[in-house]
């Protein structure tokens, strides 16, 4: 079961890489002319084409592209002719640092609050939580970001408004620099995670075996710990990992708002500059992470399901 899922995941990665490749291939009109625009001369177009290896048949190009990626060679940027691998390496670690910081804060908080909201359903606390989550998921990411910026950077000047990081910074300086983007990301992810955790717990609490436990006179704490938790594990793990995957999208916007030198900002820049090799490479990374996280969610929830763990 798990093996089958893993196999599927690898297959999916392959399909995605082909699709990203074909997507860029299937340009309407001639790519070179479109990108070089007015300045296109026959010579420059020719040079551009051979540079992108557009004169080779598609499958050879795919193989050399994917082969290069597997060896760490991502090609060169069209915009500044630098190797993409160099361009990406520091940005990947920046993005990862931001996402990891947000995850470290958001996962425990949201699970805890989600469980509390489910247990004290319809209480004042629950209502407050549900209003908070509803607004958070309704707000565009940049709105949350700007509100925080206005409040915490402009009004009160607690945190820096732009997340500027330099290589010379220590760990805590970095942490301080990214405090606003990390906080934004945390708030958004908490809202989603909490909402889903609450729903998962409520779902479990409504099941007949919980009623049975009540009618057996089991103590409330024990019902939660012994009866509800093991069965909620699988949905909660799913929620957590899916939200980590969601951060892949959230991170792009947050990086742009705070001008943070991460992968997301690079991607957006490259899209507007139509720097296709960079777009290809960074999309592949984002999609790969996303697929791996989804895969992880599936595998973990299979492993956490008691019925699947103890077959007949």
């Amino acid at each position: 079961m798990v093996l089958k899922r893993l196999f599927l995941g690898v297959g999916m990665l392959f399909v995605i890489s082909v699709l990203i490749f074909i997507g860029v291939e299937a340009l309407p009109g001639d790519l070179a002319e479109a990108i070089l625009g007015q300045a296109a001369t026959p010579e420059s177009i020719q040079a551009f084409r051979s540079n992108l290896k557009l004169d080779l048949p598609p499958h050879t190009r795919y193989l050399s592209w994917i082969g290069g990626i597997l060896q760490g060679d991502l090609g060169t940027s069209l915009a500044n002719n630098r190797p993409i691998a160099d361009l990406l390496s520091s940005r990947i670690s920046n993005t990862f640092f931001l996402a990891a910081t947000a995850a470290v804060f958001s996962i425990p908080i949201s699970i805890l609050l989600g469980i509390l909201a489910a247990l004290y359903r319809e209480s004042f606390f629950d209502k407050f939580i549900s209003i908070f989550t509803l607004s958070m998921i309704s707000f565009p990411e940049f709105f949350v970001a700007y509100i925080l910026m206005v409040l915490l950077a402009v009004e009160f000047q607690i945190f820096p408004s732009l997340a500027i990081v330099r290589d010379s910074m220590t760990f805590f300086e970095r942490l301080y620099a990214i405090s606003l983007p990390a906080l934004t990301l945390t708030l958004i992810v908490i809202a989603h995670m909490m909402r889903m955790t609450r729903a998962a717990i409520i779902n479990v609490l409504a099941s007949p075996y919980i009623e049975m436990a009540h009618l057996k006179g089991i103590k409330k704490v024990r019902i939660i710990v012994q009866h509800a938790t093991p069965n909620s594990l699988s949905p909660i793990i799913n929620v957590v990992v899916l939200n980590l995957a969601y951060m892949v999208v959230g991170v792009v916007l947050v990086e742009v708002v705070f001008v943070y030198p991460g992968l997301g900002q690079l991607l957006v820049d490259s899209v507007s500059k139509r720097d296709l090799p960079v777009v290809q490479a960074s999309c592949l990374i984002f999609a790969g992470v996303y697929i791996l996280l989804n895969l992880l969610a599936d595998v973990l929830s299979i492993l956490a399901n008691p019925k699947l763990r103890h077959p007949k």
Binding site: P208, M212, L215, K216, G217, H310
Partner: protein
């Protein structure tokens, strides 16, 4: 045996319970009073919506989400449970009042082994140590005739069959030897032959330990086996209460009499239809998905204007046979003949005219009618589809059909939600009749209805057959229905025909052993029936008829 006040275990007085429906509180239990003495079994019976389950769990001071106790008193062993604080209620539940739910499969926690769920409460309350509780579990498992009582506790709930799981739950309820057990339809989800075992086991243990019980069911015959007294409920009101024998032999209220009368077997006037065969099934083999054979070598035929009953428990393949006949599941081998011709195995290859001549009526009238279509559209569509009728002609015909099923013209404009279960099933019958079929397949058509509704439907089908000479295939597990309606009976077990023949041959001795088991499992309205049947089973077992459970 005169029971005195000192013996009184539970006294419920003027209980009113409200349910939250359509954004307002509505009373669903209206001032019901009853009592249970020590060691006594009270049966609560009624049709769906009578409020019997709600009352049952309310006697533990518990209500489901969306319900609340509004007024009344629940006095358990001198202690008031209505309005008692959570901790008091928690201490009573489990050690003193235990609960056995309808679906054991859903009520056991899938994450824990059975033994851990058994010992949980006694250990928590400090009544027994783990090892003592474990020993008690094994003792009870043995008493309840569970296979391998020493090790069954190490299994997870989904690794144990339904009938066994239900007995495990009875064992769990008995863990601390409670004063009172609430049984909430504990055998309803089981097959007839399995029902007997569970029923027998319940009766055995509560007698052995002298436990009092409230036994909730919709089946009067079942409750008659086990209860000392019976209370009949309808729409949240008490109809009457009395000693079991007195209730069965001389009920006071009309409603109770009606409940009893549906149980009594009705004879059928033998049809003198011609000898013409409408449908014949020849050597049919069928399988689902991965070559799991569910039907094997089935041969049978149905004459014009006759009723053939196909009887069997769940898993016998009787519904699969219907799917093969209708073309939903093409057989891997064998043929189906209709009016002398071999018909295409697949539904989509069958001509419209053939589809018209073979109609189907389903078990659940709730799901067999599109809730978004009015009766007019439901009946009008086949008229339009098969006969091209429209406008006035169609409306006339719809009115005719409504007349046939004994409903007034005002039903034309109603939606299925505005009809009762019995009325919906009538509309389903009318939909089948609209096509003027030669054969109607009736798949458990009465089992989702309450007993009075079911009786009406059977009578209607009978009259229609006499009038229209239509043939029926009647798929059912209910032997009373079989006795009432069939000309010919086919008994199925695990995908094979065990026995078939005219009703008189099948239902009279000498019996084929499986048929015997099935016949003897149908509860009878006689309080001594269960004891007889358990002895009878022993004899059957000696003859080598195994019972799946």
């Amino acid at each position: 045996m005169k029971k005195t006040g000192a013996n009184r275990l539970l006294n419920v007085h003027d209980l009113c319970i409200e349910g939250y429906q359509e954004e307002e509180w509505r009373q669903i239990v209206n001032g019901v009073s009853f009592y249970v003495d020590r060691g006594e079994v009270l049966g609560l019976i009624g049709e769906s919506g009578a409020g019997k389950s709600t009352i049952g769990i309310a006697s533990m001071g518990y209500t489901r989400a969306g319900c609340r106790i509004k007024a009344g008193s629940i006095l358990f062993d001198g202690q008031e449970l209505f309005g008692a604080d959570y901790e008091t209620l928690r201490r009573v539940r489990g050690p003193r009042i235990a609960y056995v739910a309808q679906s054991a499969a859903a009520s056991f926690n899938p994450a824990h082994k059975l033994i851990h769920q058994f010992v949980e409460m006694p250990v928590q309350e400090g009544i027994m140590s783990f090892s003592k509780a474990e020993a008690r579990a094994k003792e009870l498992f043995r008493r309840l005739d569970l296979p391998d009582p020493d090790n069954i506790g190490d299994r997870y709930p989904h690794q144990v069959s339904g009938g066994q799981l239900q007995r495990c739950m009875v064992a769990m309820a008995m863990a601390c030897n409670p004063d009172l057990i609430v049984f909430d339809e504990p055998t309803t989800a089981l097959d007839v032959t399995t029902q007997i075992e569970v029923l027998g086991a319940i009766k055995e243990v509560i007698q052995a330990y002298g436990t009092a019980a409230i036994y909730i069911t919709h089946d009067l015959a079942v409750v008659a086996q086990i209860a000392d007294r019976i209370m009949v409920l309808q729409h949240g009101y008490e109809v009457e209460t009395g000693e079991t024998r007195q209730m069965i032999e001389s009920p006071k209220k009309d409603y109770t009499r009606e409940l009893l009368s549906v149980r009594k077997t009705r004879g059928k006037t033998i049809n003198h239809g011609g000898e013409e065969t409408v449908l014949a099934v020849e050597n049919v083999r069928a399988a689902y998905g991965n070559n799991v054979i569910v039907l094997d070598g089935i041969n049978t035929k149905i004459g014009r204007g006759k009723t053939v009953s196909i009887v069997g428990e769940s898993g016998s393949g009787k519904s699969t046979l219907a799917r093969v006949i209708t073309g939903l599941l093409p057989p891997i081998d064998g043929k189906v003949h209709f009016c002398g011709e071999v018909i295409p195995p697949k539904l989509k290859n069958r001509p419209k005219e053939l589809l018209r001549r073979m109609q189907m009526i389903y078990q659940m009238p709730d799901t067999a009618l599109n809730p978004k279509h009015k009766v007019k559209k439901i009946l009008g569509r086949p008229l339009n589809f098969y006969f091209g009728m429209s406008g006035k002609e169609r409306d006339q015909r719809i009115l005719k059909l409504l007349e046939l099923i004994e409903l007034g013209p005002e039903y034309m404009e109603r939606y299925p939600d505005e009809l009762s279960g019995g009325e919906k099933q009538r509309v389903c019958i009318a939909r089948a009749l609209a096509a003027k079929p030669d054969l109607i397949i009736c798949d458990e058509v009465t089992s989702a209805l309450d007993q009075l509704g079911a009786k009406g439907i059977l009578k209607l089908l009978q009259n229609l057959q006499n009038e229209l000479q239509v043939s029926y295939i009647f798929i059912t597990h209910d032997l009373d229905t079989v006795k009432a309606i069939s000309d010919h009976i086919v008994v199925m077990y695990q995908g094979k025909v065990v026995e078939q023949g005219p009703k008189s041959d099948i239902l009279h001795p000498p019996y084929e052993p499986y048929t015997d088991l099935l016949l003897s499992s149908a509860p009878e309205m006689n309080p001594d029936w269960l004891d007889h049947v358990i002895k009878h089973r022993q004899r059957l077992a000696d003859k080598g008829v195994s019972i799946r459970s």
